[in-house]
Amino acid sequence: MCPDIDDNSILAKKLYHNMLLIRGFETAAAKQYRDGNMPGFIHLSLGQEACAVGACLALKKEDYITSTHRGHGHCLAKGADPKLMMAELFGKSDGYCKGRGGSMHIADPSVGVLGANGIVGQSLPLAVGAALTAQVKGNSSVALAFFGEGASGAGVVHEAMNMAALWSLPVVFFCEANRYAELSPYETHCPIDKISQRAASYGFPGVTVNGEDVIEVYRETEKAVVRARNGKGPTLVEAKTMRWGGHYEGDPQKYKSAAELENPQSFDPVAFFEKNYSADYGISASDIRKTYARTEKIIKDAVIFAEKSSLSPSKNIFNDVYAP
């Protein structure tokens, strides 16, 4: 079981560090994308760092996550290697998917990352399947599925929650309600204020947390994880958060109001932590500076690694289509 957060400054530091790592990764990715070094589309999670980090630090290495098209933060928080991630975003042979998947398909099963996924909603039933494995094998693993408020309208989300409830599976459904789904606001997708209310449809608990507050995210997710691990079944955790940027990098965001565009950083989980928690957890200004430096270095190395990695040879295209 995860330790209590209140007097655990090591954990708090890790939460903070990981948020900065994501912040750094996404910022670097945005730059590389704008510079034309990254093909295809990328979907960034700037502004949502507390969700990925708070949720994933409530998990153990043996636990699973399934992620979405907006998955960089989730993968990093669960322990994926920024080098191999960045190389994948560059489409290089050393990337997690050998350049075949790209941003939407980062996975590292060795640390329980079962993959980002380009199909909205599928993260939930895939996690249900992983939770089923844990239940059948009788080990204590838990699966956590990330999804957005847009995904909450997809039928398969309902199917997954219903099935998880019926089978009392060790799974946590983690919704990042980041105000938009593609180009349309929350209200286009959800007729109710809190998605967490839907847990009542399945008879399991639902809770809405402040996605700016990594400690709150951690605390509530941890309860859900403990519940799941103890065989009590699923929980729906909804974090109200905010997507700083567009749907994809380069999105002109014409659908946002001037106010929204002007100052997305009004919602900032990193600043929130620094302001509200650093003192409590004994994190000094110098600790903060050091954490910035450390995470910046990691990301810089990742970019260098990605740049140096070679292209995937196209003669390998038939590899891994079928297992031998």
């Binding site: 997690y96 075949r100 059948v136 699966a143 079928y322």
Partner: protein, 329 residues
């Protein structure tokens, strides 16, 4: 060897694979305590318990995707989707997840799972309960697709499918559910691979390639053709991803004449693939124009008299093949 029915062969195969490997689990609608709507899973719940044999809610998308998630993490799920027509509800987990994940994640995972379903016509089940979508899955790299035509096929193909490390779709025939055949249920070394067609009856005059329930019809047609002095070779196509073109080619090289019979519709069906593959290699392989025998391009009708005309049968195959031979002799 035992004489058992098609649905029992399925049950036996699942049972013996579940005995062999505790990672094999079974789920689907009503596969549990009730034993399945065709009794195809009878006894499994009792033998293996509620953890390994589960009734799902009606959520094909969700539970097939859950099978993918389970397969990625160490189980080997067998999933029933009762009617082939309902595969429309789970194309996403089959095509966008199961088939692609290994490739897409750079080889980091395997997805060993089996989806079996009952398809095709013959029970007057109407337009939404009689379809054959086989060629959809022929189009999807990463999947394997088999169509058992006999209880022996069901037994060996299902067992081989469970042991395969890839997602395999087993397209069973509703019409054959109660049909019987000899099966060596004690056999346990599954050297058969999932990619081989085989000749059921030899002949020199014309090759009939058939899939699933159509194999029986083709064999019937062969008897009728024999009466008019035509010695047909019948090939059970067996698999539709990949197609075993080599076995088919060997036969057509000998006979020079080909009729392909399937329940899937004509355009872009298995017949198209087989004919194109052969002519691509050798434009002179056909002594006569090959033919495809399929249902007309309309949904499957409910009324027995309509469905009888609709589906290829021994009689209609005989008519088509003999008119093919006559037209050109």
């Amino acid at each position: 060897m035992a004489r058992i029915k098609y649905f029992q062969a399925l049950q036996n195969a699942i049972q013996s694979e579940m005995e062999r490997d505790e990672n094999v689990v079974l789920f689907g609608e009503d596969v549990g305590e009730s034993g399945g709507i065709f009794s195809q899973t009878r006894g499994l719940y009792k033998q293996f318990g509620s953890c390994r044999v589960r009734d799902t809610p009606i959520a094909e998308n969700g539970f097939v995707s859950a099978a993918v998630g389970a397969a990625m993490t160490g189980l080997r799920p067998i999933v029933e989707v009762g009617f082939e027509d309902f595969l429309t509800a789970c194309m996403d987990p089959l095509v966008n997840q199961a088939a692609k994940l290994r490739f897409m994640l750079g080889g980091q995972v395997t997805v060993p799972m089996v989806v079996y379903t009952f398809g095709g016509g013959g029970l007057n089940a109407g337009p939404q309960h009689s379809q054959s979508f086989v060629s959809w899955f022929s189009q999807v790299p990463g999947l394997k697709v088999v169509l058992p035509a006999t209880p022996a096929d069901v037994f060996s193909m299902t067992k081989a499918a469970v042991r395969d490390d890839n997602p395999v779709i087993v397209l069973l025939s509703k019409k054959l559910i109660g049909s019987s055949g000899e099966v060596d249920t004690d056999k346990n070394n599954f050297d058969i691979d999932l990619e081989s067609a085989y000749v059921t009856d030899h002949g020199d005059d014309v090759t009939l390639v058939a899939f699933g329930a159509m194999v029986t019809a083709a064999i019937e047609a062969r008897s009728k053709l024999a009466e008019i002095g035509c010695n047909a070779e019948v090939v059970n196509g067996c698999c539709a991803n990949p197609y075993d073109i080599a076995t088919i080619k060997t036969s057509v090289k000998k006979t020079g004449r080909l009729a392909v019979v399937h329940e899937a519709h004509l355009p872009c069906g298995p017949g198209a693939e087989i004919i194109a593959s052969l002519v691509e290699e050798d434009t002179s392989i056909f002594k006569l124009p090959p033919i495809r025998i399929t249902p007309p391009f309309a949904p499957s009708p409910f009324a027995p008299n309509l469905e009888r005309e609709y589906l290829p049968s021994g009689e209609s195959i005989f008519r088509s093949v003999s008119s093919m031979l006559n037209r050109h002799s």
